[in-house]
Point group: C2
């Protein structure tokens, strides 16, 4: 603990950029391609900052919950515009801190996705779609989803400096759309990117006239402080995307305090290649798998970590082609030394459990690089050590799982833990259909998103997306972290009104429909106003 040197960047608390109090240290970002520190010093916050942010958020929670939806939507839209207008600076900062490609990834894919996501949240706010109004005129009951009216604590991950950033990503947009204050915990691997986003958010917030403490940001604090904050009953919820160990520690703290914890943890995203499709286009699939598994240096939640390949000539040809792709590729830059070390440990676990290395397998330099790596294991070994062999290797690493036939592929499907995604590839003719149905039946309850004939790395921001899945891929099987309006509902409470006079009801539950949202009225979905039915009061 020390006094903050004047060169350390300020934190955003209570509506102001102010010096961190009683800070626990400071840190700099790194250029992971070279392994050298870059940019200014950022603070590691102590308890004083954390408590100040929490108190400020609690103090404005009721006011924010009562804000007109239009003002929330205006903030989200103008923040999105500001992000789009700042593309050059944001992309330069994020590229320097993550080594992710400026184009297409950062400038053409992730940044537009981020601003688009904020706009979709704004649209859900204006249409009231996330509130799901239900009206029973006979019983005199009306219900909808409403703000928690408590702060939401969001932890951003290392792998999306924009789209999952704690101050700009899906959790942020969702929590704000539900009119809850957000305390953003930026990821320390891209602090300057987060600072720039927070500056844009701060300006947009003031312009929209929202409470100043509705959006706050800290750069870093230690695990103990994080757990203490996550377990504070004044919180409404936490959103977390990151490692399994970190997420489970926060979830345990939150659970004990009755705070819903939406944690997105790890996933190996099994891919099943059926015999027919391998015979049909195995070589093309090897290229497709290689591209998906090494995109973003393999640092995706939905990276295809395990590919189930039947034995036989077509399977062998796929393995040979895939191995050649991985072997020919240069080492990939990872986000940090921490990611590199974690990947080394994961690989050691997989090998100790019986996986053999076909190509790659080692760290490289300069900076934090890792060889594109392909491992292989047979079904019997996997079924003997299912837990260790499902260790997530966060990086450009794939494990090929060889099966005797389609029947064994279904047995393997049943051995998987909860995953975000599960993928099947089948032949264009109907030769794989029976096996598809059989394996899909086994795989379906174990994954959040079942994918056909394409790799899992693309996550569309759609109302029909599920970026979630059974434990331990996330903490709850009923919610998605991506896709409006569904993702908003994580940060909402169900509110029923029983025999409450119409003028005292929220706008979207009154007789007049404010428009845009279909309401379930007496068992029928409709967008009409309530006419004569409106007088049903006990």
């Amino acid at each position: 603990m020390s006094t903050q040197p004047s060169s350390v960047r300020p934190v955003l608390i209570g509506g102001d950029w102010r010096a961190a109090q009683a800070l626990h240290g400071h840190f700099r970002a790194e250029d992971p391609a070279q392994g050298v520190a870059i940019g200014p010093e950022f603070p590691v916050s102590g308890a004083a900052d954390v408590q100040a942010a929490l108190a400020a958020a609690v103090a404005v929670a009721d006011e924010l919950a009562a804000m007109p939806p239009e003002r929330i939507a205006a903030f989200l839209d103008s923040y999105a515009d500001a992000i789009d207008a700042d593309v050059d600076t944001l992309v330069a900062l994020a590229h320097a801190e993550t080594a992710l490609p400026k184009e297409p990834r950062l400038a053409k894919v992730e940044l537009p996705r981020t601003s688009g996501q904020l706009r979709q949240a704004a649209q859900a706010v204006r249409s009231y779609a996330w509130t799901q109004p239900v009206i029973d005129t006979v019983a005199g009951l009306r219900a909808h989803y409403a703000p928690l009216a408590k702060p939401v604590l969001v932890f951003g991950p290392n792998n999306f400096p924009f789209a999952f950033n704690a101050i700009a990503g899906s959790d942020f947009a969702s929590a704000i759309a539900a009119r809850n204050p957000v305390i953003a915990k930026a990821h320390p691997s891209h602090p300057a990117t987060s600072e720039r986003l927070a500056q844009l958010a701060h300006t947009a917030l003031r312009q929209a006239g929202l409470p100043a403490a509705a959006v706050q940001m800290l750069y870093h604090f230690d695990h103990a402080l994080g757990a203490a904050l996550a377990g504070d009953a004044r919180l409404g919820a936490i959103g977390f995307t990151g490692s399994r160990a970190g997420g489970l520690a926060l979830k345990a703290a939150a659970d004990a305090a009755g705070v819903p914890a939406y944690v997105e943890l790890s996933s190996v995203n099994p891919v099943f290649l059926l015999p027919g499709v391998l015979a049909e286009r195995g070589t093309a699939l090897a290229q497709e798998f290689f591209a998906s598994c090494t995109m973003g240096s393999g640092q995706f939640c939905t990276n295809p970590g395990i590919v189930v390949v039947p034995n036989g000539a077509a399977g062998d040809a796929f393995v040979e082609a895939a191995t050649a792709h991985f072997a020919a590729a240069a080492p990939n830059v990872l986000f940090s030394r921490g990611v590199q070390e974690h990947l080394e440990r994961s690989l050691a676990t997989l090998r100790a459990a019986g996986a053999t290395c076909l190509t790659g397998g080692a760290s490289a330099g300069p900076g934090y690089r890792f060889q594109p790596t392909l491992l292989s294991v047979d079904a019997e070994t996997f079924l003997r050590e299912p837990r260790a062999l499902q260790t997530e290797a966060f990086g450009p690493v794939g494990l090929l799982l060889r099966a005797t036939d389609a029947a064994q592929m279904a047995e393997l499907a049943r051995a998987f833990e909860g995953n975000l995604t599960g993928t099947l590839y089948g032949a264009r003719d109907s030769s794989d259909d029976a096996a598809w149905a059989h394996i899909a039946h086994a795989l379906r309850p174990r994954v959040g998103r079942l994918i056909g004939n394409k790799m899992p790395t693309g996550v569309a921001v759609s109302p029909a997306m599920n970026h979630g899945g059974p434990y331990p891929s996330t903490g709850h099987p009923g919610f998605t972290a991506v896709g409006m309006p569904a993702a908003i509902r994580r940060f909402a409470a169900l509110h029923s009104y029983d025999n409450v006079p119409e003028p005292q009801l929220p706008t979207e539950l009154r007789d007049h429909n404010p428009g845009g949202v279909a309401r379930l009225i007496d068992g029928h979905w409709c967008i009409d106003d309530i006419g004569n039915h409106g007088d049903h009061k006990e």
Copy 2:
């Protein structure tokens, strides 16, 4: 642990009524009006029964998840018919074990509500309403809620022998509607009622051709076994209604294993009487409050446990009239000695924290009775000891909380923990409107259901009901335990299909709408089939 005597009733495991294995003891029901044991001996199950039930449920979970919805609906309907046809026997058993009145409560209210709830669940199954289909034809994504495909463990409470019974109530109906096997843990205070219901369920299950282990029942097991079972990762979810201590212990075990725990705990259900309505009809309100607070001997989750009454003449008159009602009433029969002892402890806590007793306050005989009891406390004392003075007194006990004025009533509203309900009474003229808005704003985020001008004890089975609320009234603010189809969603997983060929999709996500359910298609709710849009695949 002992061998089961032949006179001990069997448990329902794996489709058969069979002798409990390695049982931990046995018990009999009691007539709480006289405090004497009645009926046969029922087993206290040991680990062997618990593990056998879990294994049997796991073994049929996939099969049940794949069942045609019509067969599930047929089971729910025929079970409902069987309950209606068995009214005389069921009511006689429940009356003997609970001392609840045969009429109207058991025969005319609770039993029809129970069969009606099963039929509403059947209707939600047939219409697919609980699955909430969402289709994005442009992105090629389709999503809905689907079975957990894992067993659901349901703990029934003591206070609703039918409507919340683990083998017949809302949790049971919801979990089965979502095509999950149920392991019912009956409440030991009404074992013969539960046995009779389980017999009816068993017969209906066989007639419907559902897997025999889809419905199982144990009568009793100790806390340690309950926690071990709730914390078994093979479970899909737990549903619990009961005491705070019991529910939180089960929730902690479930949380640690990643098992969603839907626990309905305790609630004091604050009622705010505004100055205008007290002047208008304070005497009538005193009668209304007395009736609600002592109905069912006050053993309701939504019992009005705290009434906030302004100081002044009208408030004093209300207190005087209410006290007279409570003082004139005979002692109420409670469910058990355990309830009686718990109530004595709760009262001691309230008194120690500063509440004074206006009338009643003591246990009585024969059996397990308690005097209708009214306590009073001033606002300053309450705000000094808010936690102790919100102790739930489960029985015919009300606490009057005296406030200086409407402004202080809003301050008091903010001091309440999460509750199932919060109620406001206002004058028929507009004299209370401003105070109403002010207090409702403070109370709204702290309760699941906001009620106007009636007591909270009625819980309609409606799609717009919320029988839930913020922690610690329940474990999650986003779910209701009552009301179809919403209650079903607790036991469902979100499933997305990404680029999956149409014939491999679940019925309600295919281009042809099976009918009955409105689907969100490309941002619009509609009941139409998908026409030319159906070919959008990547």
